[in-house]
């Protein structure tokens, strides 16, 4: 089955409601939208990782999802990244209802519209930086030469234009994370999901990565950063605070800073 989607609000399935009131960019398109989402893991006893979570991420936002470990942030990332399905509620990605798509369609959705950044970088040590980034487009039917061209541009944009043929093992931690960021960005996805992107980096390097997120966001990328680190959260434009599987606050970073004294 082939599913195409129109812009938000004009979905052919009519599944898109207007953006939730109170979100910072009501006028722009919703990229990720959760509506009454719950996730229960069927262990003994069952674990309610998320309880009735709703929010919308709009195009061009830089969102931080903050919470202590065990609060449900990673589950939230799985659901936003279509790597898992909610027990209850609905997730839309670029206007497409995730629950209605098959596993193969979700794969294609991830290939074209979602970029992932992980704490552990997950780079292939045996291939060059350029090919690592080019592999971000491997499952999108783009020929190798075009993949490499796009990878070179993406590496340029994260400041690694001079390291194209290096192996990841020859790079510093911060450089490796930049490679991973380039890989996430190479297909110009609708949203970039970053899971503790500075978790394996020292403070100065982490700050430079956050600075890069800022620049990329200003250049138009929609980025969601998941972190337990308040210092990281302070860099974000909007902060969704999660605790025990619930959203406890959602608003511009300024409000959150004032409220928490960060």
């Amino acid at each position: 089955m082939t599913v195409t989607s129109g812009p938000a609000g004009s979905s052919p399935h009519g599944i898109l409601a207007p953006s939730a009131p109170g979100s910072p960019n009501d006028s722009s398109e919703s990229v990720v939208r959760l509506e009454g989402v719950s996730k229960t893991y069927p262990s003994e006893p069952p674990v309610d990782a998320l309880k009735d979570v709703s929010f919308t991420v709009h195009e061009g936002e830089l969102v931080g999802i903050v919470g202590p470990s065990g609060s449900g942030k990673t589950t939230l990332l799985h659901l936003m990244g279509t790597l898992d399905r909610p027990t209850k509620g609905t997730v839309w990605l670029t206007g497409l209802e995730v629950g209605k798509l098959s596993d193969a369609e979700l794969s294609a959705l991830r290939a074209g519209r979602i970029g992932f950044i992980f704490q552990q970088f997950f780079l292939a040590e045996h291939q060059s930086v350029l090919d690592n980034v080019a592999d971000g487009l491997l499952y999108t039917a783009v020929p190798l030469s075009e993949r490499r061209d796009a990878a070179a541009r993406a590496l340029e944009s994260v400041g690694l234009g001079a390291k194209l043929s290096s192996l990841p093992t020859k790079l510093s931690g911060g450089q490796r994370q930049r490679v991973a960021i380039a890989r996430a960005l190479v297909g110009s996805p609708a949203v970039v999901l970053a899971d503790e992107p500075t978790g394996n980096l020292d403070q100065a390097t982490g700050a430079s990565i956050l600075e890069l997120f800022h620049e990329l966001n200003e250049a138009g990328a929609t980025i969601v950063v998941i972190t337990h680190d308040r210092a990281v959260a302070a860099w974000m434009g909007r902060i969704i605070q999660v605790l025990d599987g619930r959203v406890v606050s959602d608003g511009p970073a300024g409000e959150w800073k004032r409220a928490t004294g960060a």
């Binding site: 599913v3 195409t4 790597l83 369609e105 294609a108 992932f116 997950f122 999108t140």
Partner: protein
């Protein structure tokens, strides 16, 4: 405006690159796990190649000796006694159109051959004394290894020529002047030794003397017991001669004549060599099985070790099918590698052995094609389970469990 959500097909080149990751990054492990398959394929290719090569060697020998030799032997009478061929049988056979040459021997049954008079008469060494016509060696496809054959001047003298086995059993490896043996109670001088007569092995254990000598010294009746007939070298002509030979040799009682084509026995032997050495094939098959288990084992380990890679690929947009294809083709590539090494090793050992024997080197397409085919099948079978496991892996578990 959004692109469709049909998953992209992997290009062949990308799939090849993906499937070689495991092999390129863990060369020693890949090599060792492909070794079982290499050994199995090598064993099978070598067995098939060696039997084909030895068959080719035998067929070449048959070709050299010719398939146009027919032998006429005295058979048995209705009462079970040894029949005799008429003395003029060779002459009558010689007048059959397609016959090109007729030679014959007569068994001198009342004479035995010994190294010396002191050998007990019971130690005959299973040698026979035969009277022979003068053109025998060329007719039966053999040559003299030493000395000369009987000729018109020597055929009525006490002079003999030994078959290859006869010379060996009498302990004569070189013909000296004055070399003699004790035949039927008198000395016979040895003037020549024949090479092995492949088509007519009865000549090998014969002590050959002239017909006139046999008649003179042993009261031989002159009846031939074996007639060697060469015909025009074409199968229909050979068959035509074959069908009239018995009646021509003994018109009175053709049923007392045995006609045979000696090359038939060699052709049958060649066919028997093609019947494969099942023991070694069985060993090869067992080795292939062990190799398959090795590849499956390595693939299972590889899938477990590469959980995070699998998770990452799923996150990058790989479908279950993409993951399955990657690991499946890795297993096939691995065993194909083993298969290629095995085919080369098997062909090389065939070449070495066959050329040491002077045979033509034959590695039948069944052997190398079968070797590659078996490798592909084994890879597919061994890779199936690990590939399915890899594809079933939940991407989030694969990524967040490390």
């Amino acid at each position: 405006m959004n692109p469709s959500l049909a998953p992209a097909r992997l290009r062949a080149r990308d799939l090849l690159r993906l499937s070689s990751i495991g092999i390129r990054t863990r060369k020693l492990r890949a090599g060792l796990s492909a070794l079982g398959i290499a050994i199995g394929v090598a064993a099978i290719v070598a067995v098939l190649g060696l039997s084909s090569s030895s068959q080719a060697g035998l067929l070449a020998e048959i070709n050299r000796l010719g398939t146009n030799l027919l032998t006429v032997t005295n058979g048995q009478t209705l009462f079970g006694q040894t029949a005799e061929l008429p003395t003029d049988a060779p002459g009558m056979i010689g007048r059959i159109g397609p016959v090109t040459s007729v030679q014959y021997t007569g068994s001198v049954s009342n004479a035995n051959a010994y190294k010396s008079p002191f050998v007990p008469s019971i130690d005959t060494n299973a040698l026979s004394v035969d009277a022979t016509s003068l053109g025998l060696p060329a007719d039966i496809g053999t040559t003299l290894s030493q000395g000369v054959f009987l000729n018109a001047a020597t055929q009525d003298e006490p002079i003999c020529v030994l078959g290859a086995a006869a010379a060996q059993r009498l302990g004569i490896d070189k013909v000296f002047q004055g070399e003699r043996i004790w035949v039927g109670g008198m000395w016979f001088y040895v003037v020549g030794v024949l090479n092995q007569a492949v088509l007519t092995s009865e000549i090998d254990s014969s002590v050959l003397i002239g017909f006139p000598a046999a008649e003179k010294y042993f009261n031989f009746d002159g009846n031939p017991s074996e007639i060697y007939v060469r015909t025009v070298d074409s199968a229909p002509q050979v068959n035509a001669v074959d069908s009239v030979l018995a009646a021509t040799a003994n018109p009175e009682s053709p049923n007392e004549v045995d006609v045979s084509q000696p090359s038939d026995a060699l052709v049958a032997e060649a066919d028997a060599k093609a019947a494969l050495n099942s023991l070694f094939l069985g060993l090869g098959a067992v080795s292939l099985l062990v190799g398959a288990v090795g590849v499956a084992n390595i693939m299972v380990i590889s899938v477990l070790e590469r959980r995070s890679e699998i998770g990452l690929r799923r996150a990058l947009g790989a479908t279950k099918g993409h993951i399955r294809a990657q690991f499946m083709s890795e297993a096939i590539l691995l065993s194909l590698l083993g298969g290629a090494v095995g085919v080369l090793a098997g062909a090389a050992s065939t070449a070495v052995y066959a050329s040491s024997k002077g045979w033509e080197v034959v590695v039948p397409p069944l052997a190398w094609g079968g070797g590659f085919g078996a490798a592909i099948v084994i890879g597919a079978v061994a890779g199936l389970m690990p590939a399915l496991r890899a594809a079933r892996m939940s991407p989030k578990d694969a990524l967040w469990s490390v």
